[in-house]
Symmetry: C2
Subunit: 675 residues, 2 copies
């Protein structure tokens, strides 16, 4: 029998301090207002967006033509979800700081709420009588609607509308946006399905499935779940729907991938989900599809489907994932490459793909409380996801390579898909609102609970109150690994508290109500029993030292290289601290010292200082028999997620290693590594 947890509600958890709190604060106070202005075309010098204008036109408030990519409605919807969640952040803020409530915070909510209400109003006005709501087709006379689903993004956009509506409803309790989403879902339900006269098709970019399951979760209306089930199972049925569907010329011109027309792997449509064993194709599409399929497996207790998802999970996380939780090793199609092909420089690593991996992991976790999911959640969160946004919250990475050489990005065509600096906006601005909604929704992913069990998956200063459990977590994680928990079970009977033991951690210790204990573990979770109305205090100490990390030898591009992690955080060498990182070598076995961040000093990053070697820059000619000379150097590392906040420069996560001139058996002893 599998675990079956429901997604934790945004209101049941407050994040009250620490890194995640700071990131959410920036997202609420800076990013959400910034994205609103970008989508409303109020910011000069960035790529134009028609997101708001298209809805004004569709609502009859202007006579403008559609502007932008066909996927553009989704930008607005993702922003609406982020903005809704930002309202919750503000309410939590006021609650936390009751003393000085009102003032700035109030004014801010006022502004976001006003923008949000405007958007909701536009959507309601633009929605067609039958519920249809996509500005590209409305403004083009609804011609060719439901044609060429492979690239038209209609259902993809609809899915994001549903997600926005559910979050908006959860936070505000208002149903206006939820009504719009339900009307559209019903419209889609009348068009798609296995019944005669309906389209047996699906979108080239999975997302509608997630939206429908969330709509089901909020409304408990079964037809949304059934429709999502249909989309999950229909994808990849033979013959491939995309091979036969009628084309829409305009749309295909709008989204050009140089892909083989018949390469349905790109949209995971090459075979039915139950036959899939390897993660392939567009990494974001894959994550969204697997997330939805995992939801289906969980909702129906479908063990066969769960095992399929577990195989795909293993394919992603054991063979195709970067150290930072980035996925998508190939720029071509923004897609997965073959197993162990993980070049640190040519990679794609879209921010949205790391977000998708986080969501997929959480969905698996609801059915299977195994630490492998939480491990990947924190890997992608503290690295691949957080790196996607600048410290000021208004600049973004679309791609996230582990190695950036600005000259290569500028001059080599095969590196031009990478940004050497975060950008204020993109022609396809999927990542900025996605990272905002992920950060503002983080509360959902820390705890899950039933009456019998409280699970703690992530570590953040926070409070949880639901399902008869109250928990308070005090920690500076990931700055250090010390956590204090106070847990109260107010419902009847004994209960279990499960705490994820991070993969990176060894030597974890627990003190429960003042007593050192050695708890039993279950699938990577430490298990504690507690009684009714009993307060349990758990102190957890996880030693957190910098460690060298080596990739599997099958990752050919990382042979001879090592990276450094401390806890869940991947570090990197930036040019700002080190000069050109390409010529740095680790001194293997060299001492690594972590330095606490200095408060209040700008760019006073937490750092790891270590000894290393630098290849001397003598100029002996292009090729020489003279062996390279090395000089001792100090290597300064900063968290990967904080890189590129000090201007443009080169960066590397993996550096060369000056391995000792080893004889077999001595390597481990010399380097002092764990065997």
């Amino acid at each position: 029998m599998r675990d079956m947890y429901r997604e934790t509600k945004i209101k049941d958890v407050k994040i009250t301090g620490g890194l995640l709190y700071e990131k959410r604060k920036v997202a609420a106070e800076k990013t959400v207002p910034y994205i609103k202005r970008a989508l409303n075309n109020e910011i000069e010098g960035i790529q134009a967006s028609g997101a708001f204008e298209n809805f004004r036109a569709a609502a009859g408030e202007s006579g403008k033509n559609f502007f932008g990519l066909v996927s553009q409605d989704s930008d607005l919807f993702k922003w609406m979800e982020a903005a809704s969640l930002a309202l919750q952040f503000e309410r939590d803020e006021r609650e936390i700081q009751k003393a000085d409530a009102g003032g700035k915070s109030e004014a801010l909510e006022g502004s976001i709420k006003k923008d949000l209400d405007e958007a909701v109003g536009l959507l309601a006005k633009a929605q067609q009588k039958n519920g249809y709501l996509n500005t590209y087709y409305i403004l083009n006379g609804l011609k060719d609607r439901w044609h060429y689903l492979k690239e038209s993004c209609q259902l993809y956009c609809a899915g994001h509308l549903m997600e926005a509506a559910v979050s908006n409803y959860e936070v505000t309790g208002e149903t206006k946006l939820l009504d719009v989403a339900q009307k559209y879902a019903d419209c889609i339900g009348r068009a798609f399905g296995t019944e005669p006269g309906k389209i047996r098709g699906y979108d080239g970019h999975a997302e509608i499935e997630i939206g429908l399951y969330r709509l089901y979760g909020a409304t408990r209306i079964n037809r949304y779940r059934k429709l999502a089930d249909f989309f999950v199972e229909e994808r990849g049925q033979r013959p491939c729907f995309f091979a036969t569907e009628k084309r829409n010329g305009d749309v295909s011109d709008n989204l050009v991938y140089e892909l083989e027309e018949a390469d349905y792997r790109h949209s995971q449509s090459h075979m039915p989900v139950r036959e899939q064993k390897e993660a392939v194709g567009h990494a974001v599409k894959a994550m969204y599809f697997y997330t939805a399929a995992a939801e289906k497996a969980g909702l129906n207790g479908d063990e066969e489907l769960f095992q399929t998802l577990k195989a795909l999970w293993d394919s992603v996380t054991k063979e195709k994932m970067y150290l930072t939780g980035a996925i998508g090793a190939s720029e071509h199609g923004e897609s997965f490459s073959y197993p162990f092909d993980l070049p640190p420089d040519l990679m794609y690593g879209e921010t949205c793909a790391s977000i998708g991996l986080f969501l997929f992991a959480y969905r698996m976790l609801l059915t299977d409380v195994d630490s492998c999911y939480g491990d990947v959640m924190e890997r992608s969160l503290y690295n691949g996801i957080l790196a996607g946004m600048s410290e000021n919250g208004t600049e973004f990475f679309y791609t996230n390579a582990l190695e950036i050489d600005p000259e290569k990005c500028e001059k080599r065509r095969d590196h031009m898909h990478q940004q050497a600096e975060r950008q204020p906006w993109f022609e396809c601005p999927c990542c900025p609102p996605n990272i905002a909604r992920l950060l503002l929704g983080l509360n959902r992913y820390i705890y899950t609970a039933s009456e019998e069990c409280l699970n703690i998956h992530l570590f953040a200063e926070s409070r949880f109150d639901a399902e008869g459990w109250t928990a308070e977590m005090k920690t500076k994680y990931p700055e250090n690994g010390y956590i204090k928990l106070r847990i109260l079970k107010s419902t009847r009977g004994k209960g279990r508290v499960k705490l994820r033991i991070p993969q990176w951690c060894s030597g974890i210790t627990y003190i429960v109500n003042g007593m050192a204990v050695s708890p039993l573990t279950e699938k990577g979770y430490a298990v504690f029993l507690t009684g009714e109305e009993e307060t349990m205090d758990i102190e957890i100490s996880m030693p957190m030292e910098p460690e060298k990390i080596y990739a599997d030898a099958r990752v050919k591009d990382l042979v001879g290289k090592a990276a450094v992690m401390r806890g869940p955080v991947v570090y990197c060498a930036e040019e700002a601290d080190n000069g050109e990182p390409a010529v740095l070598f680790w001194k293997d076995g060299g001492r690594m010292t972590w330095e606490e961040p200095l408060a209040d000093e700008p760019y006073a990053y937490e750092r790891i200082i270590t000894e290393g070697w630098r290849l001397s820059s003598g100029e002996p000619g292009l090729y020489t028999t003279q062996p390279p000379r090395f000089e001792e150097t100090r290597i300064t590392l900063v968290p990967y997620y904080r890189w590129n906040n000090r201007g443009k420069g080169a960066m590397r996560v993996f550096l060369n290693t000056l391995f000792p001139a080893a004889v077999p058996g001595t390597v481990d002893r010399i380097t002092g590594g764990k065997v």
Copy 2:
């Protein structure tokens, strides 16, 4: 005052043995007949060619439409040059082996001569009354002739016709093809030039300039030289000719580079040659243009132009050249990248570009007897060029990377321009006939001479007889560095013999007429004086040991890596001998042993055996804190030019190095390298 040598005539030198002899023999006996069949569409299963058929149609012998790329005439012309030179090879063969002359060799000449005469006949018949001769335009009604020179390849093809004609005339003494070329040159001369009514334009792909200079060399007709001078100086004049020329839609569809329309660097047309300082753009185009410009500088004693070419030479050879003499670090536009950007895997390294570099070097050498040119000639010849053709002479590399991973080439779009195996043919088959004509014309490049001076640039078993000098060179070079020379000066007065001292060589010794001597050196050449009617015997011993080679630290992709050379030959590690080369590490300071090839055993290559380390293929998970384990291994290296003659597999020239855990100053001592 500069040196001013004329190109050595093909008939003045016989290559009588050794590696270059073997390669020429394969080219004459296998490659030339094979290419004829390919161009005549007689080989099933390879890309179709219309080269012969187009001329039959243009000659009125068939009603077929034009087939193939617009550059296709040049394939036939390059084959005609190679075939003409093959006739010379056969004559030399008969002379060398007078005892068993006739038989097979006779029959072979018969066959090539017959094919060649058929082609010459077709050209003469297809040529228009005014001399025009390009099948693409003839078969398309001559419409839009001289339009869109940027991509139409008309003048490029014409240049190759002239080169073929000159070689054909030199070998056969017949003038039929030379007449065709002269008529076409005159036609071009009426169309192009600075005079009113003429086109002040040039071809997007330099080559006409070389052809015209060679036509001048053979005929001493000054108008060909003047026309070539015009093309050299006109390229890059402002405003750029290509910005304003009238388009030919058909042609532009035929040759698609995804290049910025205004990126005239691709064809070296971004500025006049005299302003150029950095080698940029398409590597083959650049080499052909620089070769022609160097000819102009030499012919006119133009020191300013020579200095320009020297700067471009330095740009190529000191900042943009691979260890193998490959050039073109970027697939995009088959072009140069920025200085020191020399990735061993993503590179292009077209065979034709190495050939072009060889030709550019030789042209510089005629004006400036400096060993830097001969060094690059032998670097590209023994590595980048010879690698372009299989041992059986019928399979070819278009690109020549220093690192091939067949799975990457097959599955990663950014590596798909590379071939993991030599190919029987290409849609654009420029390289096969180019390597054939280069190999068969090698005789020209070994010696240059005036009455006063005999220069020896390359080392090969050979005889030279011209300008009053007779020289006989006995050597197994590059198998070893021992050379015996017997030189006779039959003209009046004292003379000088100059011998290039290769860059790779240290400890060279000379014995002249039995006496050890220490000659003076001049620009990297050892100089010997000899008298009239005096026979001089020179024994040269160049110690030839395998040596590790390191790239400049600015080549970021090669930091921490080393390659092995022995003499001028670059070695590589093939999967066939070593398993996956990506996990191999040099044991720095490890002994390297060269093993002589075993005669008569197939694939009994000369090899270098050395000690190394192999990263153990334990499977500890994708990322681990466990330092890698190494096991001792034997690394077997074979000459790069011989790789991929034993089936598909991975190959690397540069391997990782397990540098000693060095402290400053000890590195050199430990590794025993030269400082």
